[in-house]
């Protein structure tokens, strides 16, 4: 059995007076891709932002590598992760500088940057764009650069917040294929938030279903489809994907 990288217990996140996420227990295993699925507004991104320490939980415990994550400063903690959002949010500079940005935040020396950035631009198939301004990229190119910017950091945990939802189907499919291979090749532990079940099934080893601001069930895709834990989970899975297309 794989070891857990992240363990969450009794997590509760509030916005104002409203509870926007409840997670009784969640393990993210080392090297796995865990998809967090659920309808819009269910609390998926809240989980991701909480794990990135961009939201503060009202209560609960998050352990990273067996140690209490709260002990570290926010910056030191975040330097163990990398975040890719729905929009690429590239900086207004060259593609190379975008991919180098996280390394520069960490004080990585110039020689290492000159090796790592071209390597990851190549792995994401955007080497030829290295000198181009980020503002001149297409949506698919920009998201590939955004992924390179995160993966170059070799994070212990990669957080993906619906990174393909704004892309057209062929571009989405092509990036999804490449990313799946890269995540397997590099054994990057990944939390992948999406409301698109086929994407989740393709990329993830396990899926966590968040509905009505509560983590309802977690398991391999097949087990979820065969044995949904609640009516809400069954309804969500049936509504979103016919079982034969899994």
């Amino acid at each position: 059995m794989k070891k857990s990288l992240i363990t969450i217990k009794n997590l509760r996140v509030k916005r104002g007076q409203k509870v926007v996420l409840r997670v009784e227990k969640l393990d993210i295993q080392r090297d796995e891709v865990l998809a967090v699925v659920g309808p819009n507004g269910a609390g998926k991104s809240t989980l991701l932002l909480t794990l990135a320490r961009l939201l503060k939980p009202e209560q609960g415990e998050i352990s990273f590598n067996g140690a209490q994550a709260q002990i570290e400063s926010d910056t030191m903690y975040r330097r163990r992760i990398a975040l890719v959002m729905q929009d690429p949010l590239l900086f207004d500079t060259s593609v190379f500088e975008n991919v180098a940005s996280g390394l520069r935040f960490r004080g990585v020396d110039r020689d290492e940057i000159l090796v790592k950035v071209p390597l990851w631009l190549g792995r994401l198939g955007v080497s030829h764009l290295s000198k181009r301004r980020a503002s001149q990229l297409s949506g698919g190119e920009a998201q590939r650069v955004s992924l390179a910017r995160a993966l170059v950091l070799e994070p212990e945990l990669l957080l993906l917040d619906e990174p393909f939802s704004a892309l057209d189907p062929p571009t989405r499919s092509s990036i999804l294929d490449d990313l799946g291979l890269l995540l397997k090749e590099t054994s990057t532990t990944t939390l992948f938030v999406t409301h698109n079940l086929p994407e989740a099934v393709q990329l993830a080893d396990r899926m966590a279903v968040v509905i009505d601001n509560r983590l309802q069930q977690i398991g391999a895709a097949n087990s979820l489809f065969e044995r949904p834990a609640t009516d809400e989970v069954a309804r969500f899975l049936n509504l979103r994907l016919m079982p034969q297309s899994v």
Binding site: A52, R78, I81, A82, F91, G102, F105
Partner: protein
């Protein structure tokens, strides 16, 4: 006439005073505008309204208040700053720092709010995050710099009141124009006005060139 030693001295003093005042305004306005744009604290809207009001402060009113502070009998009279270039710089800072602060806050608030989350999500510290936001907003921030400089190089009321328009000491281009107009020397006043406009144009042209070069890259 225009290129005689006195005009040269007045021009250099005008540039020195306005450049220093703009520099100090940047030192105050950039962090303050960033704080107002990025932080949430009780009374933030009130402070923003104050800054926005300050962007339209009449220079002559600023001159009056700064003069009252610096007069020999005023609370800062012991510093003996009234009728010195330093007094003009103080007054000009009071005029221009709300301009820089307000435009900095507006520039940063116009950025995508998720950019801050993205920067943190890539491991940026708070200072690195702020530096990156400044870089992202560099074009409107340069506009803030231009507006700050423009508000002081062209003002006359405050410089007159706290500087006293003393020959070879506190006479700047704007106060010299007022003096020459008062004396009926319209030709000199017009020539000084053209000189002031030319300097303002050259400074803004240089800043615009930097700004647009950044926009096209």
């Amino acid at each position: 006439m225009i290129f005689d030693a006195e005009v040269l001295q007045i021009t250099i003093l005008s540039l020195q005073i306005s450049a220093l005042a703009t520099g100090v305004s940047l030192l105050i306005g950039l962090p303050l505008g960033t704080l107002l744009a990025q932080s949430k604290f009780p009374g933030r809207s009130f402070f923003l309204s104050m800054v926005n009001t300050g962007m339209g402060l009449p220079p002559v009113v600023v001159g009056l208040f700064v003069a009252m502070m610096l007069w020999r009998s005023g609370p800062m009279g012991d510093l003996k700053l009234i009728y010195t270039p330093t007094a003009i710089i103080i007054a000009q800072v009071v005029i221009s720092f709300p301009v820089v602060t307000g435009l900095t806050a507006a520039a940063l608030q116009a950025l995508d709010p998720r950019l801050k989350l993205q920067l943190y999500g890539l491991g940026a510290s708070r200072l690195q995050m702020i530096w990156m936001l400044w870089k992202e907003a560099r074009l409107p921030l340069l506009a803030a710099l231009m507006a700050g400089f423009g508000s002081v190089i062209s003002e006359v009321g405050a410089s007159m009141m706290v500087g006293g328009n003393i020959r070879h000491q506190t006479r700047v281009l704007t106060t010299a124009i007022v003096l020459e107009t008062g004396k009926g020397n319209f030709d000199i006043a017009i020539a000084l006005g053209i000189l002031l406009l030319t300097i303002t144009f050259l400074v803004n042209w240089a800043l615009t060139w930097i700004q647009q070069r950044g926009a096209q890259r």
